[in-house]
């Protein structure tokens, strides 16, 4: 059963090492990225591990139940809404970013409105699934795509064209002091563990094991995601690419594949991953909103409509509209601002959950 937790963690790891994060890291590559990545890996792993250990104190309870135990309603409701909103934005960002990527690389002739509508529609539909169903989809999609991901990573690291001198040039900048935005970007891929705030409900009798997998897989994925673009696109020019990892995948060639451009294989895998990520994030948001409101249905004109549906419709419409209005540049600016808020929220959340777990242990001992 522990594996379901790792699917959530790995999904986030794989998605976020592709979108935004490499671009933010590459922008700062001469300016403290390496130190930030090193610190990010340590910080991300430590947060993940203490968070998981703390959540293990509350078998079968998600954050809404835990908050109900320890804090008054006037804190619980706004914080649930806020956290739900953060998850919703995380999903929407990936949705918009991926729709831009699809438009640019896969099917430039498609109407952007239709494309966004399809993605939002699917996200909206799937976000209302039961949480256990979401975990099952996670398993299926990830297991199907893992072999291809390994293949692409293996190929990018062992490529003949990778320029090791280029990577070594970066070593001079390893001791530059880390900067906040690169640090925030480097910790972002590790945030998959936060999804436990909802899905811990499903882990009724279980303690999550094999926690060493968190730093190990995190380190491997982060390194290959940070270093292979530098080696393949060149240390001096990697910062000029807007879609860092897609261009990196395009430098690889499958001599005996059906299609020789690895980038298409890559994009098809990431369609699955992105939709899955969106679904998972929005599912958390939808459930948190329902819990915050405290009712499962709302009566509109004497008809009962589930809160879940309303919430997922709302986020879909917001995403659709903002997807229309934004651009590559607007997105990046927004993501930079958002990363700071996210980093602070994450720290606060981890600290409070650890605090609750300590309280819980003390209660148990006294009882």
């Amino acid at each position: 059963m522990s594996r379901y937790f790792y699917y959530l963690f790995w999904l986030s790891l794989l998605i976020n090492t592709i979108f935004f994060v490499p671009r933010l890291l590459m922008n700062e590559r001469f300016n403290g990225s390496i130190m930030s990545v090193a610190l990010g890996i340590v910080y991300g792993s430590v947060c993940a591990i203490i968070f998981v250990l703390s959540m293990n104190q509350f078998p079968g309870e998600g954050l809404p139940e835990i908050l109900k135990r320890y804090v008054p309603d006037w804190i619980r409701v706004p914080s649930l809404l806020f956290l739900g909103g953060m998850f919703a934005i995380a999903g929407s960002l990936i949705l918009i970013a991926f729709s831009m990527v699809t438009l640019r690389f896969l099917s430039p002739e498609t109407n952007p409105a239709v494309m966004l509508l399809c993605y939002c529609g699917l996200g909206c539909f799937a976000a209302c699934f039961r949480p256990s169903a979401i975990l099952n989809i996670n398993e299926i999609v990830l297991l199907v795509n893992f072999p291809f991901i390994f293949y692409i990573m293996y190929k990018s690291v062992t490529s003949r064209d990778i320029d090791w001198d280029s990577i070594q040039v970066l070593s001079d900048y390893a001791l530059k002091p880390p900067n906040l935005i690169a640090f925030a970007a480097a910790t972002y891929p590790f945030t998959g563990y936060l999804k436990l705030v909802l899905y811990n409900r499903i882990f009724k009798k279980l303690k999550i094991k094999h926690l060493w997998l968190i730093p190990l897989t995190g380190l491997l994925v982060m390194l290959s995601s940070f270093l292979s673009p530098v080696g393949l696109l060149g240390v001096d020019s990697v910062g000029e690419y807007l879609y860092t990892w897609i261009s990196t995948a395009d430098t690889l060639r499958m001599q005996f594949g059906f299609i020789q451009r690895v980038v298409f294989l890559f994009l098809f895998i990431y369609i699955g991953f992105s939709l899955l990520y969106i679904t998972t994030c929005w599912n958390i948001y939808v459930n948190f909103v329902t819990d915050a409101i405290g009712k499962t249905t709302i009566t509109v004109k004497s008809r009962k409509i589930p809160v879940q549906v309303l919430a997922s419709l709302a986020i879909s419409v917001i995403t659709l509209v903002s997807g229309f209005r934004t651009s590559d540049k607007g997105m990046l600016d927004f993501v930079i601002g958002w990363q700071y808020i996210r980093l602070a929220t994450e720290a606060l959340l981890v600290i409070s959950v650890v605090w609750f777990a300590l309280l819980r242990r003390r209660q148990k001992r006294h009882a």
Partner: protein, 363 residues
Amino acid sequence: MHRAAKTLAILGMALAFAGCGFKDLDKRFFVIAVGIDEGKTAPYKVSLKLAIPSPKTEPGEAKFQVITQEAETIAEAVRLAKSKVDKEFDFGHAQLIVIGKAFSDDHELGHSLDWFFRRRDIQMISYMGIGVPDAEAVIKTKPLSERLPGNGLILPFSKEGTESPYLVPVHLFDYYRMWKYKGKDPFLPVIKSEPETFIIENVVILKGTKKKLELSPDETSIFNQLARSYPRFAMKAQVQNKWVTFTGTRLKVSYKILTPAGGTPEVRFRVSAEVESEDAQRPLFDLSWTQLERLVAAEMKDQMLALLRKFQQNGVDPIGLGLHYRATRHQGDAEYGKWQEIYPEVRFSMHVQVRFKGTGVIK
């Protein structure tokens, strides 16, 4: 009432999808190669090699059409060329970018080729080369054995077909990164068009983005050995006044940059190779193999040193010595400036170790 609404919604979605604007395969022209020349009336002349699909894939049956268009920019030329054909261009299969010799002689080859770097549908793994006499002639050449349009050039570049020691393939992304590297200069292979075939036997070295130096085929082979440790080389040497040709079976080239305090900076190459004799005007088996090895080593050393000094005199660095210097020193941004001071004075030394594997099937 409900059912009607649902049906309408589904129908509406179906209509929306129908408007995806997707073009069928038979309404597309696949561009196989793009050529850039200097135009007579405009700065650019773009030639596009369009594949014409045919049911027969037999040698010499590859069909294609070449469209040329002159314009102020590449993008404009492609737009204008669209009015000369009936189908939509698809650049997703453009695997070859040929730059005309005249164009490469008097243009910088960086920002003038921006279109290729910027377009999303040009493969980063397409190959680049300089076309002689011009790009259009190369694009129009039709090798007799070609089974698929454009394959005559793509096979040698991708090394799926012939593996020539005189061909140093350059991918688009590789060119871009070499252009931007501080400490490595780009190079491009030269494709000569003949009536029914191509000759690809040498490379041009650029300084920044300007053409600087054209290597001879022999120098190209040496360059291929130095820069990429390409093992399949051929080398001629005199053994007791008779010519003997040796071919390589294994090659490893590594180097170190030494900057002793106060002394002259030195680049120390270490080469280890395994060779066989392939063509000899006298029996070799009973000669001393150690001496043969020494002979080959001396010959390789001379040729490699001569080429390195040629690069140094011309101030170009296609092997990436400067990049290696940056990689192995720890002074951050100051390194490149230092390297530029060092490079003209650097001394090359070369230790070649050759193992003679055999004389073939006869003595």
